[in-house]
Amino acid sequence: MNIGNRLKIARNGIGYTLEKASQESGIGQSSLSEFENDKREPKFSQLSKLAEVYKKKIEFFLTDAPIINKVILWRSKPNSEEERKATEAEFSQLCEQYYNLEVLTGEVRKVRFPEPDVDKPEEFTFGQAESFARKVQNQFCLGDIPSSSIKRVLEERYYVKVFHLAFSGSAISTFSPEFGYAVLLNMDRTTKQWRRNFDLAHELFHLLTWNIFTTCRLQNTQPTEDEEKLANAFASQLLMPDDALRERIDLRKNEQGEIKLDHLDDIAREFGVSLDALVYRIANLFRIQKQDTQKYRDSAKKLAKFHKPRESENQETLPERYCDLALRALREGKLSLMQFAKYMGISYKKAQEYLMEEEDFTDEAISISVD
């Protein structure tokens, strides 16, 4: 058990100086330094406080198991390195908690994602990214308006862990053999729903092609510019299926075969994407010249100023399945009330409300025979 070294790794992981760690934990800087250099052993209560501040499980400090660095892909990072590390630490902690809940309730599920037809990064073309998006649309049964069902399908059928936090960057995706696939979306008030839809579809590309691009990431943990472009092409195709999009355009175009940007804005709203993304997609679908595409995009931007900003649903940090598993674990006595409060981000008092009534929740009492 090498607590000192692990304390140092955890502090660096969240990007804290000794001074900041001291402020957050209430433990003196000299004590922290002594703990990290194995000159003095912290008490368990101090270790627990530091685990809380560093967003680590206490077991991280009590084990000799090798530390595996997670690969976390950012769509766009916050400017501040401190915020990036803090967001990654919080996201990782949520993923670990989610996985713990799956283990406690016996709900760890193996999934098989659709696979692309190529297995080397250099073989991936835009055409292949789009064709892969069509395959995913079919296999996921996303229907005409994929943005309305994609999150639910990923969470409930493929057990992808999708969290929302407020931060100043864009989305994150990660994969760990330990806890599976996970995505973090921005719940900041300034982030629109259509942006989150696109972010999720974009991050889905990274998850589905994780093994293909892994070798590149050994040297560089961030996706390359080409990989990002492929992810955008995939997301664009996934959220706006060919047939459904053509049908909507045919309904609105005039006799000269033109469609007003106002009408395109209606279509964008229906598909849950931005007008800009739709213009880009149409340019691709109808093979419009690059310079014309730019002209239409500029007009769309001007027009946007005269449209009422679209409503965005408020997002909860924790997925519904996560909350449901936490309640199940609490009910079955597999999660203590204090731990439940921590997992759910609620007060102990609020958590107690879930445990006050005498109940019979044995398997026999809450099962329905379907044979």
């Binding site: 209560s45 999660l335 107690q352 445990l355 006050m356």
Partner: protein
């Protein structure tokens, strides 16, 4: 000689006793010990949410004892018990149970938590768990209490832990 010389108490019963306004009487009859993590928890409030529970004055006046354990003690406890497989408990509860397992004295844990009683049953320490209802009855402060504070609750979840133990679940 107090009625309960070796009583470890979890967060739930502490909140209940403060909410009932009988904490001061309670510590007169029982030698109460509390995990440092639970005692320092800033989120402990009475049930109406109005009063913050500050245990420091009681510690300073030596009316309660605070236990502080070494990480190695918790690791020993952790190593014999597959926590993740069977139950995930709070660090304060880990500290309490690790202390109990490490001590040669016959400590009792007063809790109002399914997971804590299940773990006691699993560790074959069923007789070291006690409900708040049982303690209050024995020191003459009986009250009508909600389900998690009752003897029946304790027995139900301790039994579940014992069944898991018999079926060889949870211990490494």
């Amino acid at each position: 000689m107090k009625r309960f010389p070796f009583l470890l108490i979890d967060a739930g019963p502490i909140i209940k006793l403060f909410s009932l306004g009988i904490w001061d009487d309670f510590v007169k009859y029982c030698d109460v010990s509390i995990s440092r993590i639970i005692a320092d928890d800033q989120a402990l409030y009475t049930e109406d949410g109005k009063k913050h529970i500050d245990l420091n004055p009681y510690e300073e006046k030596e009316l309660i004892k605070i236990i502080d354990v070494k990480p190695s003690v918790v690791k020993t406890f952790y190593d014999e018990f597959d926590l993740l497989y069977q139950a995930d408990i709070h660090d304060g509860e880990k500290e309490t149970l690790a202390f109990l397992c490490d001590s040669s004295e016959n400590w009792l844990v007063c809790a109002a938590d399914k997971a804590v009683f299940k773990v006691l049953g699993l560790l074959s320490k069923a007789e070291q768990g006690i409900s708040l209802e049982e303690v209050l009855n024995q020191i003459g402060l009986s009250r009508e209490l909600e389900w998690p504070y009752t003897k029946k609750f304790r027995e139900m979840y301790t039994n579940m832990g014992q069944i898991d133990s018999i079926q060889d679940k949870g211990l490494l």
